[in-house]
Symmetry: none
Subunit: 220 residues, 4 copies
């Protein structure tokens, strides 16, 4: 799959399946993510990325159309790869609660493991970015679809309320997870991010409200 998408960038349409070239492609992408994370997309220069990857500036243009394209490929491959792992992880467990827990734990683990990816992801998904717009939309959809499925299953299993506005629930969940990651990224202490999964799920399911309390005021 990489090979396929790689091919279209070579000026001369040569099939490049050799491990060596693939390596260089990956090295550049890896380097780019690191530099983007450190400097931000605009501050990052092709020269920095090339130096980090151990290649010449010009070499980058053999594997990527231009600077924007590096970002596009990052979403196309790295984050998409991460998100498909969520799918796999969720499919491995049965009930809705476990699925939700696994989704969030995998999400946190994946982002904790790839801090640079996390930084870039957070920055790029929160600004108007013409070139990656579709990629981000696609990925967002992947994630939201999983959440939808879980919620629907949860409702069938009786775990979750029926009177939910699904669209809002999705944002409610992803937003909280994002913010937990964002806080972790901007914090100076390096606490364990994935341990937040269970407490978060608890909050999602039970809210902060006291169930003993008469909730009548809500409907009043």
């Amino acid at each position: 799959m990489n090979t396929h998408s790689l091919r279209i960038f070579h000026r001369r349409p040569t099939i490049v399946t050799k491990a060596k070239s693939n390596d260089k492609y990956e090295r550049i992408l890896e380097a780019a993510i690191k530099v983007f994370a450190e400097q931000g997309f605009h501050q990052a220069t092709i020269s920095q990325i090339a130096r980090e990857a151990g290649v010449a500036d010009g070499t980058i243009y053999l594997y990527f159309k231009n600077k924007d394209d590096i970002m596009v490929r990052f979403f196309d491959q790295r984050t998409k790869r991460a998100f498909s792992r969520f799918r796999v992880a969720v499919d491995r467990v049965g009930n809705a609660r476990d699925k939700l827990t696994v989704l969030i734990r995998t999400h946190l683990e994946e982002f904790q493991l790839n801090r640079d990816m996390a930084v870039v992801y957070q920055a790029e998904t929160h600004r108007n970015n013409r070139s990656c717009e579709q990629q981000i939309r696609d990925m967002s959809k992947m994630y939201l679809d999983i959440v939808s499925e879980i919620v629907e299953q949860g409702q069938q299993e009786g775990l979750m309320r029926k009177d939910l506005y699904l669209g809002l629930v999705k944002r409610f969940i992803i937003g909280a997870v994002d913010e937990v990651i964002n806080t972790w990224l901007h914090s100076n202490t390096d606490y364990d991010l994935s341990s937040m999964a269970e407490p978060l799920v608890d909050l999602f399911l039970r809210g902060v409200g006291n169930p003993e309390e008469d909730e009548g005021d809500k409907d009043a």
Copy 2:
């Protein structure tokens, strides 16, 4: 207050209370926010901002130290102004549930009313931004302090559970609100954002879980 902070940008500190000069400062800031929202900070050029504000390029430097400084002032004044309105609104109502509802509704209203501000705010708070770091931290704290107070009051009033990890609850709430705003910003349809306040509060308090359900599995 604006007049005060304006003064420091004049080469020689002259008291400028005339509406005219103040106007120009505000016009430039307004224009900058608009251009930042459309193009992103780095893509935006001083020329674009000047054109949008109807002034010469050089004029901007009579009111702002440099491009970064425009962003700093944006946070220092516009977003801080918005956030202090949250405080006022929250203080006007009595119980914790009302306070939470009012906080979130005001937040959504304010951002809905100032779409450009919202876009810039979202973008800048999610990237490593050396020059505004302190501003963002300050503002984040203002918001989180309000949430903390509400949660603590809610616990005393018996509205909220006692077994809450406050730090996480704050992120849980602000994250969801942020995501709701973010989705609104990136959506093409212009639905009413502030109407999301009550449903969100409901989710915060009750979660998505079904209270009928035996929650024993949670502790298992």
Copy 3:
């Protein structure tokens, strides 16, 4: 004389003889020399000069055509004034040796007393400066004329050799004096410059050669 030359700069040809305006003109010129000395002509800004003079930027243009013109007036008035003092001083003494000594001592004294003027003078006379070219030429001529007279008188008096190439002698003298001033300007210690007058005159008259020595080799 100042009043006369001042007048031509006023846009509306009003006779300005009031001490007040004259003051302002002088204050600006004084300020400019100070700033030019500290920063160099190009690094100096009109704003700096205005601040130093305690006037508004625009006011400078009521008294000077433009930035270059300040330099022109500096030469026209300040250095010319200094050089005319040399003339007066020289005329006060009788024989060539005394005249030479007095010329050089006055020169050193004048420049020691007006360090800023000295700095600006040194810088501007050693670069191609289109706008002041004529001024510099005129002043150089004034100085060289005095030297010429002294040398000619010295030859008549038998103090000086007859076989001198006058053009070279002038450069020989002015060059050495200039260099002594230049070294003083660039040195960090603030030694007494005018005390160099007599030793210099001694060098000019006797050279560094040993008169005991058979000078035959020179003609060989």
Copy 4:
């Protein structure tokens, strides 16, 4: 040696020994000196230099850190090269008089041959120039050391008087030479500069005084 100093300007330190790159560095430096001579350092623009050198504006920054750096390299290489030639020339002859004559003739020849260098040198050594200060000081010292040696040797050989204040003698000599060059630079006629060497040495050694004259008045 040039190659060595050249290297440090390349982003990644690559050994550039090819004549081509060296050429470009030299071409830019040459062009810069020409433009500096014509316009002065501040009036000169990078674009003019680039055009004169036949390269793009950006290319200059592959070889020089910034505009100031061009000036620094000019002193570091061109004038230092010239001054080291003085040393070589002086060392080739034996007695003090010959050494002095050779020093001054070489000096005049070198500056006559490199008029642009001479113009830039005169301008920059007579203004406060932060970036080149050390270079100028170093070079000045080189020159003054040679003069010192010659004078000391001259004293031992009996050519020169013993009662000399060496510090002043150095300024006396270098000042006169400088002024001769300066006059040549500003004159419109292109007379032979180096022919001034012998007459100057004669003035240095014998002064303008008439040795027949009773010098008693000097001490009186």
